[in-house]
Amino acid sequence: MAAPAPLRATSLRNLNLLLRTAPRFVQNQFRRQQSTTSASSSVNPEEVSHFNALASTWWDPHGSSRLLHLMNPLRHDFIRTCHASQPDAPLRSGLKYLDIGCGGGIFAESAARLGSTGSVTAIDPSSEVLAVAKGHARRDPGLKDKLTYLNTSIEGLPLLTSAEEQYDLLSLFEVIEHITHPAEFLDKCTPFVKPGGWIVMSTIARTWMSWFTTKLVAEDLARIVPRGTHDWEKYINEEELRAHFLRERGWNSPRVMGVVYVPGLGWKEVSSSERVGNYFFGIRKDF
């Protein structure tokens, strides 16, 4: 592993840019996009090429995705708290998952292994990343019948009409911050969720702290995450997500869990930390 480098010129430039422009983004980041957008895909080509380059190290437990591997158990813990908050008992078996932006399949594989899972459909626009996911899934013969990978974006999936086809849980882990027009993208996701089902996501709040930890420390100084992984300007705050879904109507019971990575201890839930850094967000579709 490379030794931490001293503060580089680019980091200083980033800092400089931030100081000049930060206040503006807080106002206009989550505005609804005009429906006149020409591109029909939610996928940003630059993001795809970045993750293509990452593909080979996705499953290296000491590689650049280590933090994601360590975070994965918390995703299941959060989903459990969402299900536990329902007034009606959650399904104990046969749950259908749709994992969007599955990457190398860290979450998709783990979801497929759970006893309560019926099936997992996992999609990603990067064919190289998906090839890594498929190759890795072959290492576990238990996944064969439960996990399906599709190389597509959300727009490529056939629209679902009946509740039988729809999913109990749609997951967007570390995805929304890589999307250029997040509100439009979320609108495309919602028809895939069964009434009473959940959208569960995780992302990073757009704050001074998150810029410091994810851009400056993680990418530039400690280099535990490859440079260019994050685009701070695309980060979304929890109250923006909450407002979006509740404005849309048809959604209830929003839940949030802030998490902090503590070196040596791993990811820990820290209440109210959703305002400063990484957080999980879950919301339930009305019946």
Binding site: H76, E109, S110, L114, R138, R139, K144
Partner: protein, 487 residues
Amino acid sequence: MAQALRFRQLGVYVCHSCSRTLRRQRRSYATTVQTPDIYDVVCVGGGPAGLSLLAALRSSPTTVNLKVALVESQDLSKTRPFSLPPTQFSNRCSSLTPSSLRFLDSIGAWKHVQRDRVQAYQEMQVWDGVTGARIEFDWPAEKAGTTIAYMNENLNLTSGLLKRIDEMGGVDMLDNQRVEDIVFGEESEDVDLSSWPVVKLSGGRELAARLLVGADGANSPVRAFAGIGSKGWDYDRHGVVATLELEGSGWGGEEVKTAYQRFLPTGPVAMLPMPGNYATLVWSTTPALATHLKTLSPRDFISMVNAAFRLSPVDLAYLHTQASGQTEEVAWRTQHTGFDAQRIPQLVVGVQEGSVASFPLKLRHANTYIGERVALVGDAAHTIHPLAGQGLNQGQGDVESLVKTIEYSVNHGQDIGVQMSLESYNADRYAANHILLGVCDKLHKLYAAESGPLVPLRSIGLRAVNALSPLKHFMMSQAAGTGVKIL
């Protein structure tokens, strides 16, 4: 064999390169026919650690759906119906700490152990054979009668664990079979088992393991397969064991039993209480003296054991030079040695026939307990000096921790075999075991000195500890595994 012969015969008629091709074809044919059975957990080794692991995995609702197998070279049908008359005890006994006992109870195994063959003890007498400095481990009044540990025959425990496993079912028991080889699996069109260990058994079966657990002892084949090295040394000492009969059931009767340990320059000698008038001996000494002890007549052996807790190291050294006649020598010398009879074990009056045996003492510590799809538990991970009676308990602690780690993985959809999933097991156990290994090693070395500056110092140490009740009770709680967790 037959196949090899055929090839040799063929060699006369077929050129070398062709016969090599023939052999290669034959091999690939064999692998396509033999596809390994796929398991979640394959445990190699059916000792206390391996059996506890399987019993724990089967009794936990989280892990009950895992497909598990046990591989053991011995015939387990001989272990299951363990039954000896109440006047006979197996010479291989271990102390179980209350913490191990709680774990065994939680997995439903303790109720299958023959309780009338288990002896709790409440006090310890530990003293220096050179200076006579002593610690008396007795509890303060409010905790009087608290058990420090339980003496139990290893066979009683393994038999109880087997009964528990049989009661629950669901474990493929592949006993009476040797591990012929462990290799990596193969890649086929729909599955890639190239990171999965495949265990080949002498009976012909092949088991592919999502997680291969090495509970296969100090010379662990699983550890060798995983390429995990181990560090340590031989003590140049043997542990002599025997089942002894005493003149009574102990100074405190059946109610308060005491464990005795005396540090001699050749190593510690310990006498641990068993039910009734019985006790088990663990005498660590040089290989030559161990051999000498084993050649003695029962009458002389008994006298030597009595002498080991009474006479001076100089007397003992002389007695070891005699081929026989220790009984008379010891009787004469004992008259001229002053000691407090109540603070040493009661006189030994008998030794169970065929129970005198010895084994070499070692310290070994694997460099890590985990690899990709491999975890080590018990003696495969660490071998400790028996002076603190912690070996078997460390193994139980390993198993409890590994099962917790597996449960967490199952609950969070992680592959239970990958190294990342096993990290918490290694982190939980490695440092704790390492400190205990080090403490026992240092104690052994400290008391191996017969003279020199260490001798008065260690006596000051023992006397000081003896005078400081809180420290003493802290140490007792640690020995019992019930104290504040310091590791």
